[in-house]
Symmetry: C2
């Protein structure tokens, strides 16, 4: 039906007859001539209809925005002075010699031909098929397709087998709520949609598949915070007979190849690695944004004995932390700005935000500092803080003092916010691995041990003896890949011995009976020659979002859902016929 | 952890030190030496442990079938006379110099090292991780991965964008029952799992995506006949601005490339095409198996006036059919065999199976025929039948006389069965397109028109006028790709004009209100400049099954379900916590 895409015409096509199909992006009448910008997936080209061809001109006069046309015409150079440098096809235009209206269009509820016009996301989602016509959205879906293509080809070349795992499956305990699917054949029973293919990929290793990958749909029925979706996509990978170093090496090579191919960017080789402990100490986060040059500094030892409980208390608490965060040129901050940051850290549980402004330390010493808390700090503490933070005149030092997790969350978030607000972010891409995670963390409410990753993550071999004795000190063989403050991938070497798996279940307060009920098939499979294995999963939506510079994962999905997990385009979810529920042996019972 | 796969060692590796990881496929002790066949994804190699290395030998003595080992050793030529030609690695063996037991194994409930042992499918599914270790199953999953890889690379190269569509969506009316997913956030409302991404891919065309593909999971809650699965996979494709000929040309090029790449087979170029009418006439089926050389022959005109109601009735009925099927050398059939075929066609609703044995037509004419029905047939009819079927001495002619659909189904199935039973099947691959389908077929019970494909299939442009007048005569722009009697792909050009879509809904007895409720978003989208578009979907499981020679789609899926839609490995579906149902505002209400 066509010979070329609109967007591919260049001066090399001049004098060629072309057949184009596309949408009327804009129609202008000028000097008795009709100009139509015709748009397709590849871009725009200007089509000219002259009045001396009366029938064609008459048709062209009828077309409106978003009409679908088929145009036959001849490519010619635009008259001197009318070239459009902003358009890839701007040197040429097409003189229309035939035109067919393939379809008409009502006036769209959102304009597609202006950039400045801000449209509500609700309208964009409701008319997603119009929103997706915008070049920006087309580009994102196209890059997404190229990213998956490149990842697949890397893995294909490295002997990974693309293998599908079930969507209708048994509840997999990743910690979130499952979506359930009632069974008609087995009344009263339910499938669950997978939160990840975790156990199936482990079973594939026990099946001798050796290297598995899948671009897998995952489902979590969570209350949708910020930028989550009820269904999302991960690049899921598992291998046998590899150490974590071998696997991490291969995975970072894949990500380097991806960035080189798609963005022409060279990532560091090897990727830097940080231990969990160091990441928390320096950045207050296990997914540190290395673009921000600020770092947390521990000062508890300086403040243990000061006469200021806010500091001394956490400084003496084995689970407490007291840390400083130096903001270069932070002396410029206004009282209002400091108040706003105090509110900001409040979100993360911090009860306040102490600070010292360094006005003139160089010549005035202690008198050159300005702070409501200065009076509580003896000279030695002040000097220690100044030395350790390396603060100079014009800086400001923020403090956090609380349970370690509160300080880490508050100062960790503040660090990133300051980086953004104060224009301190370095350019470019700053990936790293975080390693040596603890096996367990204690649930704040129940005091019980919980798996930091998931219950199938292997402990370090040389710490197996510590498991029951000091679980909190035991480290796992997990690793996360972090890029510019976002965790893009996470994985681990898995437990491949039944006895170890049982010990972990036991530590996690999963009774033998529960373990049998939920993971009986796994425990059984571990008896029959399970190879050492491990894997990783990359969050594809987030990766594409970062690589396309999109502001939300919704902008890199064709048909995302709203925060209330609804599809505004198709009106899902919706009510169903009572007969359908009857077949499923179900009744709706709304709560009062 | 290893240097080579077991299966890749050849004489070129002799004298190299290698590190292997794998499973003990078989252990034999012979002449004081231990032989272990070590198995991994690539194959088997023989490892030898000599008693002169006491510690290694002691370890080797402990290993049993399916133990997981890491072996360091030196490759050497097998002693003359002990080579194993059946093994790819059979020229060499590895002298073990180190061995580590990475994991032990209990005695597996099914043997993996013998071919002849037949194991029940139930056991295979329950211990799928053991079943998948068998080289045959490994090979199938590997070929499946290569097939998807090749299909993707063809489509990537041709500008198709791999785009994901939602799994949690609104009911799509493909005719089968939906799987439902209760919403927690919207109590009493449900998502449906997609029976196909049909409407989303059409919306992507309206979004200007131009060329879309996806290897898409689809779900149908059907009573599982023969070889169906509740979830299955299709290669889903849609394009804009292409005629059916352009699209079919591209798709057959893809399938030709696939068969060339994977099987080194050259399929015909172009693929032959049959109209639906001709396929039904000659083969009684719209997915004819062209490997069977038998064809149906119409003989109603010869029998319209015979004094035998069984033939004359259907011959006079406008909806009837009387057809003959000649079986060369069918005179050999025993009475018992003919009885069995009579029962066989009964499955398809045929009330009997008349036949004529051609014993000696050449010299004896009518007296040389043998048949219970011969007495009803006048000479002219007999001569007509003999001429038209081309029967010769030794043949047998079967007859079908009933409503056309009964004759087609019965003789169509008999044709294939005879082909199989009598060794008449041609070798190789016999693909074709079936085209010119009717738009509608009449529901036998209600007498209402139903869409033969789906309600979004476009009618032929030059038959638009016939729609309301003679719907039964109206043909669609649909096309099916058929391979060796299996429909491997089906698609159509879609309706891209709102008015036509509304007329089709109307003809299908979908009221305006129902249309608005179920397809309102589609009808609305059609208003805003929908391009002409069409597509196709290939059944990936079936395609892989055919290409690997597997007997069932269950054998080309890693974790299939049983006929009652259960996963024997993980015990899904299963009961859930009442609290979960409560959160979903649901009660189970078992029927008495």
């Amino acid at each position: 039906m066509r010979s070329h895409y609109c967007g591919e015409l260049r001066s090399g096509h001049i004098d060629q007859e072309v057949v184009l199909c596309g949408w009327v992006h804009r129609r202008r009448d000028h000097g008795g001539v009709i100009f139509v910008d015709l748009r397709d997936r590849d871009g725009l080209v200007q089509v000219v209809f002259d009045p001396d061809r009366a029938d064609i001109f008459a048709t062209a006069e009828q077309v409106r925005s978003e009409y679908v046309l088929r145009v036959v015409g001849r490519v010619r150079r635009r008259p001197a002075g009318t070239e459009n440098e902003e358009l890839a096809t701007g040197e040429v235009e097409v003189l229309g010699t035939e035109v067919t209206v393939l379809n008409s269009a009502e006036t769209p509820p959102m304009q597609l031909d202006e950039h400045g016009v801000e449209v509500s996301e609700e309208l964009r989602l409701r008319y997603r098929y119009l929103d997706l016509r915008r070049p920006e959205m087309q580009q994102r879906l196209r890059v997404r397709s190229r990213i998956t293509q490149m990842l697949r080809s890397f893995l294909d070349e490295h002997g990974f087998l693309d293998t599908e795992t079930p969507i209708l499956t048994k509840s997999t305990p990743e910690g979130a709520r499952d979506y359930l699917v009632p069974s008609r054949v087995h009344p009263g029973e339910f499938y669950a949609l997978p939160q990840s293919p975790q156990l199936f990929k482990q079973l594939l290793m026990m099946s001798g598949l050796d290297r598995y990958y899948q671009i897998a749909r995952c489902f979590r029925d969570e209350d949708l915070r910020a930028d989550r979706q009820p269904e999302f996509t991960q690049l899921d990978i598992e291998v046998s007979f590899m150490t974590e170093d071998e696997l991490m090496g291969l995975m970072e090579e894949m990500i380097r190849t991806l960035f080189r191919t798609i963005l022409d960017v060279e990532l560091p080789d090897p990727l830097p690695r940080l231990t969990y402990a160091e990441a928390m100490r320096r950045y207050g986060s296990d997914r540190p944004d290395l673009r921000v040059p600020l770092e947390l500094v521990d000062i508890a030892d300086l403040l243990r004995d000061v006469d200021f409980k806010v500091f001394a208390g956490p400084a003496q608490d084995p689970e407490g932390r007291v840390a400083a965060l130096r903001l270069p040129r932070g002396g410029e901050l206004t009282r209002k700005e400091i108040d706003d940051y105090t509110k900001f850290v409040g979100i993360y549980g911090a009860k306040g935000l102490a600070y010292i402004k360094v006005n003139d330390w160089a010549t005035k010493g202690r008198d050159g500092l300005q702070s409501p808390i200065l009076k509580f700090l003896p000279d030695a503490a002040v000097e220690g803080i100044m030395t350790r933070t390396g603060a100079v005149d014009g800086d400001l030092i923020f403090f956090g003092a609380d349970k370690a997790n509160v300080v880490n969350e508050a100062l960790g978030a503040l660090r990133v916010k300051l980086g953004q607000d104060r224009g301190l972010m370095a350019e470019g891409w700053h990936p790293l691995w975080v390693v040596d995670f603890p096996m367990f963390e204690r649930d704040a409410q129940t005091g019980r041990w919980m798996a930091l990753h998931h219950p199938f993550t292997a402990p370090k071999e040389d710490q197996l003896d510590l498991l029951e004795e000091t679980p909190g000190a035991c480290q796992s063989r997990a690793y996360d890949m972090v890029l510019n403050g976002t965790e893009i991938g996470g994985g681990s070497i898995r437990i491949h011995r039944e006895a170890v798996q049982r010990r972990i279940f036991c530590l996690l307060n999963i009774s033998d009976e529960q373990a049998e009920d939920r993971f009986g098939f796994l425990l059984k499979a571990l008896k029959y020659g399970c190879p050492p294995h491990g894997g990783i999963a990359f969050g594809l939506d987030r990766l594409v979002m970062l690589m396309t510079g999109a502001g939300s994962i919704r902008d890199v999905m064709a048909f995302p859902k709203t925060q209330s997990a609804a599809c505004l385009l198709t009106s899902a979810p919706s009510q169903v016929d009572p007969a359908q529920l009857n077949e499923l042996s179900l009744r709706v019972k709304l709560r009062a």
